[in-house]
């Protein structure tokens, strides 16, 4: 196929225009144009080909070339159209995933540049900057950005939560950081009482301090606010176990296991709850699942799996 585009751009365009008019041929010619760098000419045909072309491999190539060309031409709508094709029809294809990662990354960069250009002083710009610092592990700078936003508008939803999270993420937090963070989460809940994340983190803080009734209260609220929040149900169940309320822990932990069937912590805690509530057989089943997920090598000799790969330090 590439042999038809071995000449210069104009001859390629010529060869395309002379090609048969069926959908597959149009698509192939468009791909040839795209691969030779003639994206402006190629893109309309590639978009038109999405519907009529039925051949799977051809559709995959249309998607890949389409994304590349649309990104080159800064055509966001077209980019999303081709990405939609790839992610829907080729969700496990390495080429499709590779292209998608780059495309989404470039789209993200482009959007953030737009934000910086059009509204550099907006809280959204500060929030984005703070999040960027967070991803780089620059917790102190992120904290400053969140505080700058709150100085302008202390009632913006989500910012106290993010600030609290940044405070807790510091590698060497001082002795007062946990209580400082706790205040931020509480303020968040005053602004947005439906913030399940804030309730959850408050539950975790209470659990770390062994304030079990507080932990139970917070995790219960988080679970009620977001019935799909598996970790909240797990936190609730684990706190009830700590309170030796084994029977009461079973229902939330069963929910946690249902929501997060691959979470070993959920299975382990459910196993403990079952066992200590007297349901030893159910406990054994959950322990078995837990062992399978964590791949525990210890145990009866016949159950030992092989070793893992090297390149890790203790």
């Amino acid at each position: 196929m590439l042999s038809v585009v071995s000449a210069g751009g104009s001859s390629v365009a010529q060869s395309v225009s002379n090609a048969p008019a069926d959908a597959s041929s149009i698509a192939r010619n468009a791909m040839a144009l795209a691969e030779s760098g003639h994206c402006s000419e190629a893109l309309p045909s590639l978009r038109k080909s999405i519907g009529p072309v039925k051949d799977k491999e051809l559709r995959r190539k249309i998607g890949l070339d389409g994304v590349r060309c649309a990104m080159t031409l800064h055509q966001t709508d077209a980019t999303l159209e081709f990405l939609h094709l790839l992610t829907r029809e080729f969700p496990q294809d390495p080429d499709a995933l590779y292209v998608a990662i780059h495309a989404y990354s470039d789209l993200s960069t482009s959007a953030s540049q737009e934000l910086a250009r059009n509204a550099p002083s907006s809280y959204q710009a500060h929030e984005l900057l703070a999040e960027s610092f967070e991803t780089q592990g620059k917790w102190e700078v992120a904290e400053k950005e969140y505080r700058a936003i709150l100085k302008k508008d202390p009632s913006l939803p989500g910012i106290h939560f993010r600030l609290g999270r940044a405070l807790l993420s510091k590698p060497n937090p001082g002795p007062d950081v946990a209580s400082e963070a706790k205040q931020e989460f509480e303020q968040e809940l005053q602004i947005d009482p439906k913030n399940a994340g804030a309730e959850y983190v408050l539950g975790e803080l209470a659990r770390q301090n062994q304030v079990w009734d507080e932990a139970v209260k917070r995790f219960s609220r988080a679970a009620k606010l977001d019935p799909q929040f598996g970790e909240a149900f797990l936190g609730l169940g684990a706190s009830l176990i700590s309170e030796k309320q084994y029977a009461e822990a079973i229902v939330p932990l069963e929910t946690a296991v249902r929501l997060e069937p691959r979470n070993p912590d959920a299975h382990y805690n459910l196993a403990m709850a079952y066992t200590r509530a007297g349901r030893k057989q159910d406990g054994e089943k959950e322990f078995a699942i837990h062992r399978r997920i964590i791949g525990n090598e210890a145990g009866p000799a016949e159950a030992a799996p092989s070793t893992n790969q090297p390149q890790e330090n203790k």
């Binding site: 062994q210 684990a238 805690n269 403990m272 200590r276 964590i294 210890a298 000799a301 070793t307 330090n313």
Partner: protein, 573 residues
């Protein structure tokens, strides 16, 4: 301590206090006051380091750290307090590395046996005693397996372990082959205890991973070779040897159920978690679940770690279990457990729920926060201030010498931790316990023992590739105490598993003599019973281990000295 004599007379005739003071100030002319003030103000710390120049212990551990980073290089070695010559004074044994498939030191390395000179100093008697060995040593377990009254030494090694029989004349004989205790592979901690209650000491030997030179894996951090996380190596089953009573042992690992379980054993303590009179085993494993082998009688064990809640973290994750111990730290009559782990895992204090389950109460006792970034090895519950409550000391140090390149807040050398038991829980008192608890160490083993017989239990810490650290207890003798050496007759001679209870006024306490505990180390076999400021022990009761089960009660006991109690003897000696 009595005040020293002043060295001059106050002169003839009556001398008033005013004149006396004037005399002193005249003599010293104020120049000594700053020194005096410093002496008065000097804080009293519970332990002080006894340096080699004082103790005479000049031996150092050599790990043989190599560019290839063979894993055994970072895990040793252990230490022991023992009275090898039965003179009533604790001697010291130190384990070294040696020749193996990945290491051939020149000149050869050797273990060290130091005889206690009874004056705070020690003499190296290794060569005469014949315990220099030469293999790649890891741990040591001391026990009188043939009940001849002299403690024998088992050195757990990478390669082939050694049993040294104490000849009773200051020398030892390697009887490993005859005994059948070579335990080939990578052995770590070991413990003498009587699992089948036949009155003879059996031996449990922890085995670590399947490793030899050809199986060493290249692990990197920052493009430098480092020591691998053990989860990369295959787990192995540990050993249980039954004492046949004729100087030989039978490998009962399989028939006992122990051999069915593959682990990566580091620490072991023999205890009785369910008060059934049979000794159980708590074994820490690295990167896989810990084992709690409950002795069900008939020579069999059931592994219940998972159901008991001692196998994993609270979140159900295996950790890097290293040092272990067991004690009834809260005096409810049931033995609790402790395990130390690696950084970012926290250590666990498992409180016995009296039903073969445990709850981790490390957090409310300040242990979880104190150990969050630490890696713990040797550790022991003991009553360092003789107030009657069991305190806890932990030796720490990260196994990976590159760890500081990975985590800025985790150190390769770490200080000791000391937790004081007030009777209402443990409190971290390391920060206020002086320089001994600020010194960064690459600690591994920890053994307790009263080397100066003052009733204040001292501590020996062995380090990796450094000199051992001897800590003298400076405050234990400020309270009253009774030291106890138990000699079993029908029960095992070391009385491992004995239950001791005593009362002094309103202080009523009970103790159990566990087997082993710590990491790669072995302890003074005597028990020191603290009674605080009480000046009398009302009664002392000993329940000897099975098959004896004899209960003996004593009154009219002395204090502030050691006594020997022989099983069935009418009076203490």
């Amino acid at each position: 301590m009595k005040a020293p004599a002043l060295g001059y007379s106050l002169g003839p005739g009556p001398t008033g206090r005013r004149d006396f003071l004037r005399g002193i100030t005249g003599t010293f002319a104020f120049s000594a006051l700053p020194r005096f003030a410093r002496a008065v103000m000097q804080p009293v710390y519970p332990f002080e380091e006894v340096f080699p120049i004082t103790s005479g212990i000049t031996w150092k551990h050599t790990a043989g750290h190599s560019p290839q980073k063979y894993l055994p290089e970072t895990t040793g070695a252990g230490c022991a307090f023992l009275d090898y010559d039965n003179d009533g004074w604790m001697d010291i044994f130190l384990v070294n590395s040696g020749k193996c498939d990945f290491y051939d030191p020149s000149p050869p390395l050797r273990n060290a046996l130091y005889r206690n000179n009874r004056d705070g100093t020690f003499t190296d008697v290794t060569e005469k005693a014949g315990v220099a060995a030469g293999g790649y040593g890891q741990g040591v377990a001391v026990g009188d397996y043939d009940a001849d009254g002299f403690p024998d030494i088992y050195v757990a090694q990478y390669g082939r372990s050694i049993l040294y029989h104490n000849n009773g004349d200051g020398t030892f004989t390697d009887v490993t082959e005859k005994a059948g205790l070579a335990a080939p592979g990578w052995s770590s901690s070991a413990v003498w205890f009587d699992y089948d209650n036949d009155g003879r000491l059996d031996l449990f030997v922890c085995r670590f991973v399947d490793f030899d030179k050809s199986k060493n894996l290249p692990c990197t951090a920052d493009n430098k070779l480092g020591y691998c996380i053990p989860h990369l190596y295959k787990p192995m089953s540990s050993w249980l040897f039954h004492n046949n009573g004729d100087g030989t042992f039978t490998d009962v690992s399989k028939s006992s159920g122990i051999g069915k379980y593959l682990g990566k054993g580091w620490g072991v303590v023999a205890t009785d978690i369910n008060n059934d009179g049979r000794m159980d085993l708590f074994v820490s494993n690295d990167t896989v679940a810990n084992f709690l082998f409950v002795n069900r009688g008939q020579g069999t064990f059931e592994e219940i770690g998972q159901q008991a809640g001692t196998a994993y973290s609270d979140a159900g994750r295996p950790r890097s279990g290293m040092g272990v111990d067991s004690a009834d730290f809260n005096q409810d009559g049931w033995m609790d457990l402790f395990v130390a782990n690696i950084d970012h895992e926290a250590y666990s204090l498992y409180q016995n729920n009296h039903d073969e389950t445990f709850d981790d109460i490390a957090a409310p006792n300040g242990i979880a926060s104190a150990s969050k970034l630490m890696s713990g090895w040797g550790l022991k519950f003991f009553d360092y201030d003789n107030d009657g409550n069991l305190d806890l000391m932990i030796a720490n140090g990260h196994p990976d010498d590159l760890i500081e390149n990975i985590y800025e807040n985790v150190k390769y050398r770490e200080p000791l931790l000391l937790f004081h038991n007030s009777g209402n829980g443990l409190k971290n008192v390391s920060a206020e316990s002086g320089p001994a608890f600020a010194k960064p160490m690459s600690a591994r083993g920890l053994a307790i023992g009263d080397f100066n017989n003052d009733g204040a239990v001292d501590v020996l810490v062995s380090t990796n590739n450094e000199a051992p650290v001897l800590l003298r207890n400076t405050i234990g003798s400020q309270n009253h105490w009774l030291g106890l050496k138990l000699v079993g007759k029908k029960a095992n001679i070391d009385a491992v598993g004995a239950r001791i209870s005593y009362q002094a006024g309103d202080l009523k306490r009970s103790r159990m003599k566990v087997g082993g505990g710590s990491y790669l180390s072995s302890h003074d076999p005597r028990l020191v019973l603290g009674i605080g400021q009480h000046v009398k022990i009302d009664w002392l009761e000993i329940i000897w281990p099975q098959p004896s089960g004899l209960k003996q009660r004593f009154t009219d006991l002395p204090i502030d000295r050691y006594i020997m109690v022989r099983e069935g003897g009418e009076k203490w000696e």
